[in-house]
């Protein structure tokens, strides 16, 4: 089996095995082991030359995200192993949770790897089904509402994406063989000769469809609830991975339409959705009381920034967008590790109930403080580099748009700093009744610090190979 499919089926095979393990400790360790295996396979894939293989492809655009996805999947499974006993699952839910986790990881990887847009659509759909069941797993009214909203809105979203995929094929049909009809590479090859009107129609549906999954305003309303109600590790993978896969699908669509000079320019649509996301999220951040919803809104802001970057287009802005997505994945999942553990320790996820973490839980508190500063765009993390590049690209290409963008970023940063002060340095709030547990504190904080170290390392000294890869990717997406 080629390595591309091996990664996907390794995770799905793991899901089958995990469905049979009722014991919490064994299941969490097995889950971490499967994720570690997937990470090694992803590293092996990175060592191979780029190739198209059947329905899959590896190229400069998706390889960085496959690596990030496998890395976050691994660290999240470690975090999950350290904290899952706090969720109070019975053995059925332990099985369901771990099975859904690996089904999601496999589908997520397939969505990134897919060359065939039909396969990509199926993968996104499987990832949606797996995450819906994970969001609902607590079976509280709030969890059901979050899952139902997620399900219906994303159901409509991916239905529209399928319609877009069908129309895209209709556009390319006179120029392609049946076998290659939905291949991204083949579509890119003939995009310039396709009927521009049909391409426009396809892009509108693909943008709305996958944009819903990427959480772009005004299609975002499922996102905060879905992030706040599931088990803690799910927020990390939803924010860190699923949004990237959806944004990559938008980029694939954008590059096809962008390759046809007569079709409508896709950039302004992404600019508008991106700017709307940044501005609405920057204001919404000030009104949040729930810590996990607060950081979910911050994800909307960051996906908006990435969409804005890709909307500007050109190598510099695209590079900023790609760096931003990678930095956001790493830092936002770190934040959810910190916030999730803090919420477990304090017995509540309201911002008002989480205070003075630095005093009561130093490793967690300092890690969370640095992570929040990093997500706000303070140096040295990768997000500082990407936001700086984005602002300079915006100032050069569209100065009148750079002003509201900068305002949005600053407003969001101020909200983040306020919450940082309250949660990390404010008056300490009492812990929940459960006895403190030293090893759990360490095990939960380790992935957080590891993510911070990687994000800072990439921000300060990005390896030459990765930088070359991203520069190539920024050129490919056009």
């Amino acid at each position: 089996m080629p390595l591309q499919w091996a990664i996907v089926f390794f995770a799905w095979g793991g899901a089958v095995v995990l469905a049979a393990i009722p014991n919490l400790r064994h299941a969490t360790l097995a889950n971490a082991a499967v994720s570690a295996g997937s990470f090694l396979l992803a590293l092996a894939l990175a060592a191979q030359p780029f190739a198209e293989h059947g329905w899959t492809r590896t190229d400069a655009v998706n390889l960085p995200f496959i690596l990030v996805s496998a890395f976050v999947g691994l660290t999240t499974s470690v975090f999950s192993a350290a904290t899952l006993d706090q969720e109070g699952f019975d053995h059925w839910r332990i099985r369901a949770y771990h099975t859904a986790y690996q089904v999601f990881m496999g589908a997520q990887t397939l969505a990134l790897l897919a060359d065939n847009l039909g396969v990509m659509w199926v993968a996104v759909e499987i990832a949606t089904l797996a995450t819906v069941s994970m969001v609902a797993v607590h079976r509280t009214p709030a969890a059901f509402e979050a899952a139902w909203k997620f399900f219906i809105l994303c159901g409509v979203g991916i239905a529209l994406a399928l319609f877009g995929t069908i129309v895209l094929y209709l556009a390319a049909q006179p120029l392609l063989h049946e076998e290659t009809g939905l291949s991204w590479a083949a579509l890119m090859g003939v995009a310039a000769q396709c009927d521009p009107g049909t391409l426009n129609l396809a892009f509108a549906f693909l943008l709305l469809g996958y944009g819903t999954k990427a959480g772009l305003v005004p299609l975002h309303s499922w996102l905060p609830d879905a992030h706040a109600e599931g088990p803690v590790p799910i927020s990390a993978v939803l924010s860190g991975l699923l949004l990237n896969a959806a944004m990559l699908a938008v980029l694939r669509a954008k590059s096809i339409v962008g390759a046809n000079p007569e079709a409508i320019a896709p950039g302004p649509f992404l600019l508008a959705l991106g700017l709307a996301s940044v501005l609405l999220a920057a204001l919404a951040l000030w009104r949040r009381r729930d810590a996990r919803r607060f950081f979910a809104w911050s994800s909307i802001e960051h996906m908006g920034l990435a969409a804005f970057a890709f909307g500007l287009g050109g190598p510099a802005a695209n590079l900023a967008g790609l760096l931003h997505m990678i930095g956001h994945s790493l830092v936002k999942s770190a934040i959810f590790f910190g916030v999730g553990r803090a919420a477990q320790a304090k017995g509540s996820q309201k911002i008002a109930d989480i205070g003075g973490l630095v005093a009561t839980h130093p490793a967690l508190g300092w890690g969370l403080a640095l992570a929040i500063a990093a997500i706000g765009g303070l140096p040295p993390a990768l997000i500082f580099a990407s936001e700086f590049r984005l602002l300079s690209a915006a100032a050069a290409e569209a100065p009148w748009l750079a002003v509201p963008l900068a305002l949005g970023m600053i407003t969001a940063l101020a909200a983040l700093i306020t919450v940082l002060q309250a949660m990390c340095f404010g008056t300490p709030t009492p812990d929940a009744a459960t006895a403190p547990n030293g090893w759990r504190e360490t095990a939960a904080a380790t992935p957080l610090w590891l993510h911070l170290a990687v994000a800072a390392g990439l921000g300060l000294a990005m390896p030459g190979a990765l930088a070359a890869l991203l520069a190539e990717a920024a050129r490919v997406i056009g």
Partner: protein, 222 residues
């Protein structure tokens, strides 16, 4: 690959029939009748898929037709009837927008679909583009139904009929690869949505399927 007059007419007739039942879904006032109208739409869709399979010489579409008939013509409607009985739901349709205005909006959406699709797809073959206009109309009417109905079950049926529109689009595009796989995957999603009504036990938890009341369970109520 040329189409004679008869294949073209029959494909149009079946596509138009599917669209007609989208309107029927909009004006029903009782849940049971809505479900039956959906079953009829699913059956028409299955016949349309089989006809396209015959016309295009694509045996894979017969699989789509059989699946559509079994799932949308029979099994999903039976499951929906069972949900209404078991969860003892309101048997009347609660509308957010009245029946009359809904129908007017529906006609407007069909006009919109035709105005958008026909000029945009001049490069494509006539059957494919007219089929696409019909399919887009069904998709938009499905969305309209989701917006204008307050019961979760009617919203689910709106989503299901939206998906009928997708399948209508997919079968109308001759030679589309993976059409069977994609339509099956879409069907799995819809079955999961129907199962979700059961699994989330919305009736027991929320006392009403009115999705408006779900808002009270948000984590940030004041």
């Amino acid at each position: 690959m040329s189409f004679g007059q008869l294949p073209y007419d029959v494909a149009h007739l079946l596509g138009g029939g599917v669209l007609l039942f989208s309107f029927v879904l909009l004006y029903q006032r009782r849940i049971g009748a809505v479900i039956n109208a959906f079953a009829t739409q699913g059956t028409l869709l299955a016949i349309a898929a089989a006809w396209q399979g015959y016309v295009q010489g694509a045996p894979g579409l017969y699989v789509t037709a059989v699946l559509a008939l079994a799932a949308k013509g029979v099994l999903i409607p039976l499951a929906l009837h069972a949900i209404v009985r078991r969860l003892d739901l309101h048997r009347t349709v609660e509308t957010a927008l009245g029946i009359g205005p809904s129908l007017v909006a529906g006609v407007g959406l069909v006009g919109l679909a035709i105005l958008v699709v026909l000029p945009a797809t001049e490069g494509a073959r006539a059957l494919a583009r007219e089929d696409l206009a019909l399919a887009l109309s069904v998709v938009l009417l499905g969305m309209l139904m989701m917006i204008t109905r307050r019961n979760a079950i009617s919203q689910v049926i709106g989503l299901l009929s939206l998906e009928n529109g997708l399948i209508l689009a997919a079968i109308g595009v001759a030679g589309m690869p993976l059409v069977v796989e994609l339509s099956t995957a879409a069907l799995v999603l819809m079955v999961a949505v129907v199962a979700g009504v059961f699994a989330f036990q919305i009736r027991e938890r929320f006392d009403t399927l009115d999705t408006g009341s779900l808002e009270e369970h948000r984590g940030e109520r004041r």
